[in-house]
Structures are given as C-alpha cells and as structure tokens.
Amino acid sequence: MLSRRREDKVFSVLIKSGGIATIFVILSIFFFLFWEVLPIFVPARIETLKITTVKQTLKGEVFLLDEYMNYLISVGNDGFKIVNAREGDVVSTEIINDLHAFYLDPLTYVLFLVRDDATVDIFDILWVEKFTKFGKRFVEPSIDKVTSFKLPSKVDLIRGVKLPEDEGYLFIGSSKETLYFVNLETEEDFLTEEITYSPRLSSFKVEHNVVDVAISRDGKFICVISGFYLSCFERENLLSEKLLSYTLSSRAVAFDFLVGDRALVLLEDGKPPVVWITAKIGSEVRFVNAKNFSRGCKEYINLSVSPINRTFLAQCGNGTFYAYYSTNERLLLESPAPVLSSPIFITPRGDHLFWVTKDEIYTVRFVNDYPEISLKSLFGKVWYEGMDSPSYVWQSTGGTDSFEPKLSLIPLLMGTLKGVVYSLIFAVPISVLSALLVSQFMNSKQINLIKPAVEFMASIPTVILGFLAALWLAPLIERNLFSFLVIFVLLPFYILVFYFVFTVLPSDSKWKTIGLAAVFIYSLGPLFHMTKRLEYLWFEGGFVEWLSENGVYYDQRNALIVGLAVGFTIVPIIFSIAEDAFSNVPKSILVGAMALGASRIQAVFKVVLPAALPGVFAGIILGFGRAVGETMIVLMATGNTPILDFSPFTGFRTISANIAVELPEAPLGSSLYRVLFLSALLLMVIALVFNGVANYIRMRLHRKLKF
C-alpha cells in the first residue's frame, strides 16, 4: 500500500514538472522572439556628445567627416582644410585666394570650385585605406584634383555630382537667369590608359533667377528652382519636358535627392518637408508628392541626407532638428541641437551627426537602426519609389545598396491566409464527412481499417508531400486542369446519383454495393475522357492557354496544389477531432431521434451533427492553426512570390516560408532580421490563439454533452 502511494506521488510530481517545463519552454520561446523584436520599438535617439577643440579658427561652411571620424574636411571661401577631428590639429591647408563659389557633394565626395576667372576645378575626395600597427582599418582623406574647365562667364551657384561607375561628372553653374550645364564624360586613351575628361557645355536661359539646383547622383534627373518655381527634368530633356512643376509658397532653403535618386526633398520655411518620389503614371515617369510629414521648422537652416538610407535631417533656426524617414513618412527624432546656428551634418555611415563652429567639432552618436520599420510600413499601404500607386509589397532586398526595402507583412499574411483557405476548402469537407461516416455509419471492423490509414496520413513527412506536390501533382494538374476542375465540381452530384441508384435498387446483398462501387470507379475513366474531349472542343485543346489568353494567369505551382497537399496534412487533424466529437455524442440521442421516426441520416444530420458542431469547429480551427505554420510544402509547391491576390491559379508566400527563405540571408540584427522575428512572433501568437480557442471549445463541448 505504502509503495503504491509513493508511486502515485512520484508520478504526479513527474507529470506536474513535465507540464511546468513545457510551459516554461513555450514562455522562453516567446521571450526569445520578443527579445529579438524589441529593438525595433526603441525610437531613434542621439547620445554621448563629444566636443573637440580645433587649434585654428575654421572659416569653413561645409564639412565632411570620414567614416571613422578621424578627419574633418572643411571647405570655405578661403579654400579647404583637413583637420584631425580627434586631436584638433590642422593636418593640411589649401588656401585659394580667388575662390568665387564652391560645392561639396556629401554623397559622392566630389568638390567643385569656381574661381574669379570662371575656371572650375573638380576635386575627388578619396578615402585612402590604411591600417594601424594593430591591424585596425582607418582611412585618410586625399583631395585630388581631377580636371578643370572654363565657363563662358562667372557663376554664383554651383552643383555637381560624380556619376557612378566612373562615367564622369555632371556640373551645373548658374548666375541670375543663366544656367550652364556641363557633362564631363570619361575618356580613356587606348594606349596609355590615361583618363581624360572632355567637358560638353550647354547653356540655358530661364525666366527667373535661379535659386537652387539638385542633380540626382545617377545623373538621370535635374531639378531647378527659379524664382518661386520648382521644376524637374530628365537630364536629356533639360528645361523642356517637366516631370514636376511646383510653386513654392515661401523661401526654399534646401533641396536634394535622397539615396536611390528617386526621391526629392524640399525644405520650405513654415512647412513640414515636402518629398516627391518618381512614379509611373501610365508609361510616363513623374514626380509625385506622395508623402506627408508631421513636423517642420518655421525657419530651416539646412538639410542633410543620409548616405546609407532614406533618412534625412532638417535643422531649424531655433536649434531644434528633426530626423525623418522618407518611405514610411516617419518622424524619427525631434531634438535640440548642441549648437544653435551651425548646420547639421551626417557621417558616411549615417551613425553620427556633427556640427562645426569656428573652433569646435560636436559629434553625437545617432542611433537609428530600424528607421524603415513602422506600423505603416509593416501593415499599411506605402507608395514606394517608382511605383504607380500605394501598395502592400514585400521585397526585402534588391540588387543595389540604395534599394528601398519594402517590408509590408500584408502580402505574407494574406499569402498565409490564402494557403490556409485553399487547404481548408479541400480538407474540411473530406475530413468532416469521413469523420461522420466513420463514427455514425461504420462498424468496428471498418473503423479499424480506416483509423490507422488516417494516422499514417498524419505521419508522412511534409517534405515528401511537398516534393510530390511540386514535381508530380503540379505538372499533372497543369496538364489536366479542366478535367480536374470539372470532376471536382461534379463528383458530389455524381456520388449522389449513385446513392440514388443504390437506394432504388431492391436487392440487399453486398454484391449490390460492390457492383455499384465497381461501376462508379470504372466510369471515372470515360468521364475523364469526356472532359478531355470537351476541353478540346471548347478551348481548342488548352484550357490553361485559354485562361492566360483571357487574362487569368496560371502558375504551375499554385494555391490549388498547395491546398491539396497541405489539405492532406490537416485532414488527419480535423478528422480525429471531429470523429472524437461525433463519437462523444451519446448514442442514446441518436436512438431517441430514431425512436421518434427519424431516419438514420436525419438523426445524424439533425441531432448528432449539431450537437458535435462545436467540436467539429474546434477541429477546423486546429487544422487552421496547423496550416498556418506549414512551411515545407508551401516552400516547395509554390513559387514563393509574395504577391497579393486570391486566385487559385497563382502562387503566394506565407509567413513561415518567408522566414525559411529569408532568415539565412538576413544580416544579424538588421531590419530584415528583426522583421522576420516579428513575423515569427506573429505566427506563434496566431497558432497559440487558434489552439487555445479550439481547446476551449472542445472542453465546453465535453462538459455540455456529459449528462
């Protein structure tokens, strides 16, 4: 007796600790996922102000820091200087006495100087890679003159960029209503491999005084503000075909292209920043005002665009500065600047901000790791650069560094839903009807045959199902789509016809059943041939071709295939839960209904089914939960294109497949990495909620049916 009690105790402790361990594991998974997601909710901030005193007075107006913040390049009306930004020593000075105007492009590291005699010098700022004796990398600036050319007359305002892939330079200079455009193309001497630039100059007259000019760094677009009018052009159609025309309402302080060259920011006093992006309107490219920002300055003093992403900074005359992100229209940060009236600059890595006064350099760390993630970009419609309207898009990586990440979870959620819905369309009728059949109409011998088969179904590795679906089922259905659809729709009616014949035939022998079943199976062949013949007659032999001619796109690996394959995996789940629910309905109820004169079918459908319905529903929810997380089949049997439609003939990408596809490629700690964890968390919550709901319904049902 004593040992028995001790045994009970040991077991109860074991069971309890097992349960607690399970809960603990689930909680840890949650905690881990949450921990990985948490950083994206931390807003951008600045921290650790550092001040370096420069040992000479700086007359510079425009500044550049290298990525390690060792050297400061200062450009002013007296020439340029290189300063050791850590020690404050001036490393080198280039005094230019006849300097008339200058421009330093902060993203392509090119410096243009105009002298009094209208000569333009172009300097490349090169970051020469060096290593300390401990092997640590750093860069030293080297300002090298590339070429110079002469303009017909002196200009006051100049802008210029270095084109990518050494294609040369673009330069624009203007004075009053004159605009000079200079294209310096790279020419390489065949023999000496010496590189020269030949400036091709074109000059234009505009109606008003030129205020500012912006050139996209790929050389494609040029925007000009003259008077109160802002216009943008393609480089080839300068001043002729306007891609944007806008009338300013107040003083324009600055405008520039963001990284990627498809978004233009304008700071106008008294307004939040205005951003235009390129959009396809019909077949034309236009700049559209697609973004709304919430805060801005009464009086701006400068604009600084991030070299690494679509962050840009605007500083106000009162010392406040704002950081924005273009894609999702986010205000990242509003903060007082450490220096009141000096303009704000951003470092090449975009991770520090700095201000320079006459004799001091102020740097702060700019923590802004996940600017592209926001509720709007995850779940809202966003008008991305180059598209024709706002949309939900998932496209996490592109070919270039300046690619605009598109992190909408909507196509993935919808893809998940699409997969689940098509799976349920196949699985629910089959599993519920067979559960009904097994629990209400079969004898124990038949049940013993069916149940292991269903259990076997559940034990097939999904990778095999995915493999079969992709390589066998998908081509098979593509070839016989029409027949498949027709038979799928007609089969229930066809079965009904046979059932009718079955009830009408008088005999009671089992040969009737076997004979009818044989006829049924044998007749499927001719039925199939008939559909083939119809397809031949109606669609000239190719239903799939006919579909695509009529605008219905057909992917070989599509929702239909996935529905069949994933449906196959959830049939056992729904079946076993539903069967359980049906068998839990007391037999006495069925008998009671039949004693009132109900037929077996009536009793089953009018009494047993309604009584078990919550259980069936729980099974469906559980199947839903399972289908939501299904990865392997979806991965293999769809094209994994994250498109947003509900056609049965196209593929889709689910959250789970997306994680499988993208996580190996996602850099640790990157935005993509975090968003993938977020989607995993979402998936887990969905699965847990569905499981919880299903179990709750089942428990209630059990309690209710217990008499």
Partner: protein, 258 residues
C-alpha cells in the same frame, strides 16, 4: 379494477416471437396481446428480455447488428415484420421513452418540436401549439413555459424524463413504450411519472417495463411476467399479483424469488 380477464381489443398481437442476438436467444416463443388504451406492464428479473421485447414492438432492435427475429407481431392487424414496412410510420405511431432520459442538446422547445418537424410540420403556429399541448400533457408546461428556449440539459432528471414523454407525445403516437422510465428518479419524481401515465391512459396505449412491483401493480391493467426469455404468465394485473396461477410468478411478485 379490470373486470375483463381476456384482451378484447388488441392493438398488438405478439405471435410466437423469438429473438436472437447473434447466437444468444433472448426471447423464446412469446405470445400475448396488448389491449388498446390500457397500460400493460412487463416484469421479470434482470436480463430476462423485457427491453428486448419492448424494442421489438417498434423495431428499435433493428439498430443492433446481427439480430434475428422469428414469429410475428401484428400492429392493428398488420404485421410489422413483413418486408417494406414503413419504419418511420411505425415509430411515429409507436413512441418510446427510455430508461435514461435522453433529451437532445437543444432547447426545450426544439426537443418537443423535433418529431413534428421531421414528420413535415413547418408552420410555426402549429408547432407552437403542438409544443404547448405536448408539454401540458406531460405535466411539464407550468414548470418550463418561461424558459422554452433554454437548453433542455439544464432540467432536472425528472423534468428531463417528462420532457422525453412530451417529445414522444408530440408526434401524436398511438402507443407509448416505457422502458423503466423511473429507475433513475427519486420517489417524488417517479410518482409524478406514474400520475402522468394514469392521466394519459385512454388517450394512448402504454407498455411499461419495470422492476418496481408496486409501480406495476399501481399503474398497469395487464401484466406479463417474463423469465429467461420465456413468457411465464400473462393476465390482468390483479390476477398476477393477487392470485397468480404459476408458482414462480407468485414467488417473484412476493419477493421470495431467488
């Protein structure tokens, strides 16, 4: 109570009925008649085949696999074991109340309306009427009239059993079969059912299987005593209880059987 000692107006004529569950013979050549409008009790020790006999009367045994019947039962002169008999009609005319109350997991109203509905009554007003009348007949109306649309499973055991009677009445049967209707009820609830049976007498022919001798003697007009599948004695209740012709019957009804 009864003057007659012979069944004069039989609604059921059971003729040489034998019944097998597979190899197991549960009834052995049973013959007797059931008087229309009266209450007939079937008594006998456990396992003697009372329920089996009762279920033969509306062919509920058909639901069990591997059973076999010999002999015949005439219901209103028609054999119910002939081919192509309309079972639905038979069960509509011969209702049944089970030992364990078995209301459907639906509302009280839906429980009572279930029978009429499957027999084709769709009109809401008629259904309302049937439900009320059946519940009144089952002496349940006053207790449930305010909660007709609440779950039937919330009723007490006795109320559930009366609901099952109401449900049987609702299809307007001619016969109601009771299989130990009070075995799960306390004496008060049992008394109510007995009272109800006496009230329903005349409107319906009733057949009751019971282990309770007092109950049988109180409510029934006729009593059949079964033992091991055989009919030992059948006759007016008074005779069976006061002057049984068979020695075993006497031992059984006086409680000395064993």
């Amino acid at each position: 109570m009864k003057q007659k000692d012979k069944v004069t107006d039989p609604i059921f004529e059971i003729k040489d009925l034998s019944f097998w569950y597979g190899q197991n013979k549960a009834l052995d050549s049973i013959t007797f008649d059931i008087q229309k409008g009266d209450i007939t009790a079937i008594i006998g020790p456990s396992g003697c085949g009372k329920s089996t006999l009762l279920r033969c009367l509306n062919r509920m045994n058909d639901l069990i696999e591997g059973v076999r019947v010999e002999g015949d039962i005439l219901f209103e002169g028609q054999s119910i074991y002939k081919k192509n008999i309309d079972l639905i009609m038979l069960r509509k005319r011969v209702g049944m109340v089970f030992q364990k109350s078995n209301p459907f997991p639906k509302s009280i109203y839906e429980n009572v309306a279930f029978g009429p509905r499957i027999h084709g009554v769709k009109n809401k007003n008629i259904l309302d009427e049937i439900v009320e009348k059946s519940l009144r007949d089952a002496a349940l109306w006053d207790e449930v009239k305010d909660r007709l649309h609440h779950s039937a499973l919330k009723l007490s055991g006795g109320q559930q059993q009366r609901l099952c009677i109401a449900r049987a009445i609702a299809v307007d049967p001619e016969v109601i079969l009771f299989d130990e209707p009070c075995s799960a009820l306390d004496p008060v609830a049992s008394a109510k059912i007995e009272e109800l049976m006496l009230e329903l007498k005349g409107k319906y022919t009733q057949v009751i299987v019971t282990h309770n001798m007092q109950q049988a003697s109180r409510v029934s007009d006729w009593t059949a005593f079964l033992l091991m599948g055989k009919m030992i004695e059948f006759g007016p209740t008074e005779q069976i209880f006061l002057a049984p012709r068979n020695k075993i019957t006497e031992e059984y009804v006086t409680g000395r059987f064993g």
